[in-house]
């Protein structure tokens, strides 16, 4: 069954695509290339233009300028029903006046494919809903509707499958389960998936490549690990996971590293992990890469050390404890410590020193919002 659904996905290319709505620009000269067979996630906050991108690819919006190419073919002027693309909508948009089976068979019937009912039944079996084919969408739970919407799109064997936050309406447990299933189906059928989401965990968990969007532009694109390990802008460092950012003027620079001065402490980053090497720059570190010490540690130069500071908040989240540490002249620093049962017993108000390895620092290309004025 799965082999029958097996198709080769097509690559998607957006060239210089721009979309203006009255009063604002939703997409600003966007260039994007998604290779065939990839699971690609567009990640960003609401209003960043990710859904507009998806609707332009589906043909539901017309770009103000630019070209959309699917499998090398220019589809910019094609109507939605002419494009080899199917969408799983955020609202699922299952037709309420049809049975589940007829919903899934709809696309096949429009294209006059032989035996639409049998193929629709197969697709429903694939998402393990074959037994409720005769029901109406209103009688299904959210998770079931989501799977029907997926089957309704997949049964057409599109070159490109668009997913518009399809898991947004599901509860956490069901969402995790659907993420796993969705990824499994994508690997099985080999389609190109373009997944739009604001959930960074979902994007990192499922996608081969993640593009982080902000204000109508792609800020950074890459494999989830690379994006997380080396965010290049303040927005990416904050949107994809959490970051401690330190802003200061470059005080020291040699062949391999750059240091800035922050509140009397020296914060260093490897040169190859920094976007900018001169002037005022921002250096960050992930909270789980940092550790704290209850007495001033004696560390070699491959560590950054700041402190002393004071613990002002402790949050217990199960797998880890999150500590908020106030360091005079620097600000607040967050440290995650894994809950492995042997971390030092720490109370609010305790004096601590924070350190991390220089190799875990990353240097940003821009500065966090509002730090330009603080000269």
């Amino acid at each position: 069954m799965a082999t029958q659904l097996k198709v080769t996905g097509a690559d998607l290319e957006l060239i210089d695509v721009r979309k203006d709505f009255p009063g604002f620009t939703a997409l600003d000269d966007m260039d994007l290339h998604i290779p065939a067979g990839q699971f690609f996630a567009l990640l960003g906050p609401s209003g960043c233009g990710k859904t507009t991108t998806l609707r332009i690819v589906a043909g539901l919006e017309t770009p103000t300028q630019g070209q959309v190419l699917i499998g090398g073919q220019d589809v910019t002027s094609m109507k939605p029903h002419e494009r080899p693309v199917n969408t799983v909508f955020q609202s699922y948009a299952l037709f309420p006046h049809m049975t589940i089976l007829e919903n899934v068979a709809f696309g096949l019937r429009q294209r006059k494919i032989d035996d639409p009912v049998a193929k629709a039944q197969e697709a429903l079996d694939l998402v393990e809903l074959g037994h409720i084919a005769a029901r109406r969408p209103q009688q299904l739970s959210g998770g079931q509707q989501q799977r029907v919407a997926l089957a309704r799109a997949l049964v057409n064997r599109p070159s490109l499958l668009l997913l518009d936050e399809p898991l947004g309406a599901l509860d956490l447990k069901l969402r995790r389960q659907m993420q796993i299933e969705l990824k499994a189906i994508q690997m099985e059928v080999g389609l190109t998936f373009l997944h739009v989401t604001h959930d960074q965990e979902e994007a990192m968990d499922m996608a081969d490549t993640v593009a982080v969007m902000n204000k109508g532009r792609i800020e950074q694109m890459g494999a989830p690990e690379a994006l997380y390990d080396r965010p290049k802008t303040a927005f990416v460092s904050k949107f994809l996971g959490q970051s401690n950012l330190f802003v200061g003027k470059v005080s020291d620079s040699n062949d391999s590293s750059v240091s800035i001065e922050v509140g009397g402490y020296k914060v260093t980053v490897d040169k190859k992990r920094a976007e900018k090497h001169t002037g005022k720059i921002a250096i960050g570190v992930r909270p789980e890469k940092a550790t704290f010490h209850t007495s001033k540690p004696n560390l070699s130069s491959d560590h950054v050390m700041i402190g002393e500071g004071e613990i002002i908040d402790i949050r217990f989240t199960g797998v880890s404890n999150q500590y908020l540490i106030e360091i005079p002249n620097v600000g607040e620093v967050t440290v995650f410590a894994q809950n492995i049962g042997k971390s030092p017993v720490i109370e609010l108000g305790a004096k601590v020193w924070v350190s991390w390895k220089v190799e875990h620092s990353f240097g940003l290309a821009d500065l966090p919002d509002g730090s330009e004025e603080q000269d």
């Binding site: 029903h81 037709f95 006046h97």
Partner: protein
């Protein structure tokens, strides 16, 4: 025994709270029930009773209570042309009203959805004719469409009508009047249904390879069935019983008489209440049967 068997299934549910709320419900329903009894049920019985009396013309005209079913046979044989004409006119007028109203309602309900001021203005314009009595409006049309008015001069000039023919008094004139007078009853229910139409279903349809015309036939139309059903019922039923437009005083002539025209004539002119009422009961029965078949056939129970 059977009654006891059923009631024993729910021994506790009839005690306490439900009884109290049952009394309140009854008290709330009572005014409505009394109203229905006085102004619907009793008149209906009186109507049926009158339709079965025997008219005796000697020595003077009087009416004997009877079960005179002959009255029904009489009106069917005598008024068969008017009966078929009534339903024919009603069918044509309803169909044309639907064809005009649907695009209009779609435009108001879907296309100008994001411009609420314009939308409200257009809905007001649809209702606006109701602010003037419909008799006045129909008389106005009679004057506008009379011979030698600019409109009719034009119609004669382009050859739609022969120079000797009048429009007023013809079947098309009556159907025109019916459409004009009843079209808001078609437009408004269509509008309320289409106003709630979720355009995401239409996007999903086009995403699934349906051309715009297919999207309309397979998605828009089925989803707007509740509006179509209520709109056609709200126009067809009153049109079938209408007696104003078809009357000679308005847009019709003796050649355009409908059931309503004959009811008026028998009741008020020739003093034959038994045939007037028999015709009324017949009209009611036929509409009931047609509407039942129609709603069943449309099969939109889950959408209504």
């Amino acid at each position: 025994m059977a009654f006891a068997a059923f009631s024993s299934n729910t021994p506790n549910k009839n005690s306490g709270q439900p009884v109290k709320s049952g009394k309140i419900v009854l008290a709330l329903l009572l005014p409505g029930l009394i109203y229905l009894a006085m102004f619907f049920f009793i008149p209906l019985v009186a109507l049926i009773q009158t339709s079965l009396v025997k008219r005796v013309s000697t020595p003077s005209v009087h009416f004997d209570p009877a079960w005179n079913w002959q009255n029904y046979a009489d009106v069917i044989s005598r008024y068969w042309p008017q009966i078929t004409r009534s339903f024919g006119y009603a069918f044509v007028a309803t169909l044309v009203a639907l064809l005009i109203s649907y695009p209009l309602a779609y435009f108001i309900g879907v296309k100008v959805r994001h411009r609420p001021v314009l939308q409200r203005l257009m809905v007001t314009l649809v209702i606006a004719p109701f602010f003037i009595s419909f008799l006045l409006r129909t008389i106005a049309w009679k004057q506008l469409l009379a011979d030698h008015t600019p409109i009719m001069e034009f119609v004669h000039q382009i050859g739609w009508l022969q120079p000797s023919q009048s429009f007023i008094g013809s079947g098309p004139a009556v159907v025109f009047g019916l459409i004009y007078n009843f079209i808001p009853f078609m437009t408004l229910p269509l509008y309320t249904t289409l106003e709630r139409l979720d355009v995401r279903f239409l996007e999903a349809g086009s995403d699934l390879y349906a051309s715009p015309s297919k999207v309309f036939r397979k998605i828009t139309l089925p989803l707007s069935m509740p509006g179509i059903i209520s709109g056609t019922l709200l126009t067809f039923i009153p049109i079938a019983g209408d007696y104003v437009n078809a009357s000679q005083d308005f847009l019709g002539s003796e050649k355009t008489s409908m059931i309503g025209t004959m009811v008026v004539q028998d009741q008020l002119v020739t003093n034959n209440p038994q045939t007037a009422t028999a015709l009324s009961v017949l009209l009611m029965g036929m509409i009931l049967v047609l509407v039942t078949i129609y709603v069943r056939r449309a099969g939109t129970e889950e959408l209504l």
